[in-house]
Amino acid sequence: MSLKSVKKLLLVEDNPIDIQRTQEAFRDINKAVELHVASDGGEAMAYLHREGIHADAPRPDIILLELNLPKMDGREVLAQIKKDDSLKMIPTIILANSEAEADIVKCYQLQANTYFSKPAQSEAFTSLIKSIHDFWLVKAKLPQQR
């Protein structure tokens, strides 16, 4: 597989169990996926703006974002991404523990690309990661990296 086809994802998640099961699911589906992890909202923004230790961070092809995060929460991270002209094109997919209608409506208003609530059951979780992989990294056309 060529280097160009390596897809880079940024997972913004603070729960170690969810980080681990997401990493394992992607490892099983496609070894050419590079999964970077930011464990709070502040770190996610530093990563995307390539600040400090993230100076050489690759631009992600897609972002997977939890809503309830320490420091800056996911709703604020989403709002900042979608009002930044250099970042708003990156598909940002919400993977939330919340099924609250208010969160779903708010995230689509802020232009989240899709909203999913995380299944607790591990098979359903793996199946969701497969769907996200298939839809975004196989079928959808993504804007080229600059």
Partner: protein, 70 residues
């Protein structure tokens, strides 16, 4: 059309997926800039098209959480 939807506070929360025959990079970039929820190019071949429609159905109508209609 996409720009109209995404500028209207009442409509912009509706997921809008671009399904087009164009694979031009300029169209892809512009659509994501205007906040299309996704961009898919339409396969010419019928069975590939059916597979794509099934995948849209599974992703958006089975798995995703969508905002309720008011």
């Amino acid at each position: 059309m996409l720009a109209h939807i995404k500028e209207d506070d009442k409509l912009k929360g509706i997921p809008t997926v671009i399904l087009t025959t164009s694979e031009a990079e300029a169209d892809i970039v512009k659509s994501y800039q205007l906040q299309a929820n996704s961009y898919l190019s339409k396969p010419v071949q019928l069975d590939a098209f059916e597979t794509l429609v099934k995948s849209i159905n599974d992703y958006w109508l089975v798995k995703a959480s969508l905002p309720q209609q008011k």
